[in-house]
Amino acid sequence: MSHLAGLLFARGFFQNREVMDALLLGGIVAAISGVTGIFVVIRSQSFACHAISDMGGAGAAGAFLAGINTFWGFLTIGVLAAIGVEFLGDRARERDLATGIILAVALGVEALFLYFAAHFTGKVGAPMLILFGSIFVIDPSTVTVVTALSIATAVVLGLIYRPLLLCSIDPELAGTRGVPVRIISLVFIILLAVVVEEGSLIIGALLSTALLIGPAAAAVRLTHKMGWAMLWSVVLGMMATWMGIVLAYDSFGWPPGGRGWPVSFFICVVILLFYLLARLRFKLPRLAFTLAGRAVQDA
């Protein structure tokens, strides 16, 4: 057993302060992402998610240039972008087009800021941290803020749960029942922005959408009960994050050597694996059944 643990966890894993913080913070963000992600999947808002995370990335790059904590850049611009996306258009097509344009502009601004950051501040690592996450180098004050924001998000989401579900199924039906559809949608997209930007902190602006949507997309393949879907989504998201952290720590000993591979790469690979397994779920038992049948025949 200890042999196996030794294979899985490279030496010093549990003694490393940064690693422990990363596990805690990654777990919290994965959990809130899992719950929020179910609603994103139901509401088909993955594209909006992506636009928000890229806007947030531009904000973080700007904050870095200004010498401010990049998380505030992520959060402020991400929330503003979310409000913008919400007010852009009523019709799905209109909204998609407008979101696409915002996305393109955001990437342009982000590229410019990161170019400045890399060339004029001399810190080449900054673009990497914004685009691919900074889970191992987060300062303790940010951990507190992210934890508090996650709890607040969970509370508000619980509060609007039923009207939000009704709006997600059919906004007009929700309207006839007296639900303030626009306000609920606006509140949700702001929560979404908060969660997206927390994800950006962990695995970067480019990939935070994966943490939000991947586990949820796998979860809805595994169950058709809302509560169970959320639980699955949380569990898969946390597993992916923790496995990613373990692998990233292990990878310090891998080629080309001495640097370690980015944690966001591992998290995304594990999420993709979970998603594929969830899609194959109904085919796997059949395969096992066939194999077992063959084994019985051979015996």
Binding site: V41, I160, P163, L173, T176, H224
Partner: protein, 282 residues
């Protein structure tokens, strides 16, 4: 079935006086008058763009009136009126949406309230009861995204009835159904309404599936309205007056067809008929 004379003395469930609605540059409804009595089953008929959906939205308080008044059970129409149940035409549910049939119906019980849904014996009992009433018990635990349009329709009806409405509005519930299912849904709604003493307004393109159950017809054309018994409305002079041009009402094997006059023979001008009469106009 006619309205018992004792009922007509009561206050109307719906009292629409000189209602005009203007959206942009278009007069959608032009000074219409409609009174509907408790327990009536009304077929709201008209071609596309006649203002049927707008009228429903006005009753639901979702579209502001330009002129006139709309009173529901004696009070001005307002948004979120719990006395009105609403069944939308169709909702778009993803195949993988993590909801069961019963979850969709249960939103009628407590979907508008804040907070997370907690299970309760009372809720379970009411939802189960309603699922049986709409013949949906068989797929109550199936994923709702994988059910057929007709099955989803019944769940939406259960959803609307769980709000315990006095007036039930159904927006084209038959348009996605085959003729057999359409007759079934109409029969179901009529039975449920009679049991509960509920007033029904059912929007449809085609009058025929409604013929066995309706008390009166509300016919909309070009923003004008006429309300009355089927035989008083489906007449050449009445409908021609509404449309503003010559319209002919044909009766074939007990079915009613309405044919427009300007380019008669053209399918597009078959104004109100069973959809399969004419290569699937809907």
């Amino acid at each position: 079935m006619t309205v018992p004379s004792a009922l007509t003395k009561q206050n109307p469930v719906l009292d629409i006086r000189k209602l005009s609605v203007r959206l942009g540059d278009n007069d959608i409804l032009k000074s219409i008058n409609v009174q509907i009595q408790p327990g009536e089953f009304i077929g709201l008929i008209g071609a596309n763009g006649a203002g049927k959906s707008t009228l429903l939205k006005v009753i639901l308080g979702l579209v502001p009136v330009t002129g006139g008044s709309v009173a529901v059970l004696g009070k001005p129409a307002r948004r979120g009126n719990r006395l009105i149940g609403y069944v939308p035409q169709k909702i778009h549910l993803d195949r993988d949406i993590p909801l069961r049939g019963r979850d969709l119906a249960a939103l009628g019980f407590d979907g508008h309230r804040f907070g997370i849904p907690l299970p309760s014996r009372e809720k379970r009992r009411r939802v189960d009861e309603m699922l049986v009433a709409v013949d949906a018990a068989g797929y109550a635990d199936a994923p709702v995204g994988k059910l057929s349009g007709g099955e989803q329709q019944r769940l939406l009806i259960a959803q609307a009835l769980l709000t315990v409405p006095r007036l039930l509005l159904l927006d084209e519930p038959l348009s996605n159904l085959d003729i057999g299912s359409a007759y079934e849904v109409v029969g179901l709604v009529s039975r449920l309404a009679r049991d509960r003493g509920m007033t029904v307004i059912l929007v449809a393109h085609d009058m025929n599936p409604l013929l066995p159950v309706v008390d009166r017809v509300l016919y909309l054309a070009d923003g004008n309205a006429a309300i009355g018994q089927v035989d008083d409305i489906f007449r050449n002079d009445v409908l021609s007056g509404l449309y503003g041009y010559a319209v002919e009402v044909l009766r074939v094997n007990g079915r009613i067809l309405v044919v427009g006059g300007r380019d008669s023979g053209d399918c597009g001008h078959l104004l109100s008929a069973e959809t399969h009469c004419c290569g699937g106009i809907a």
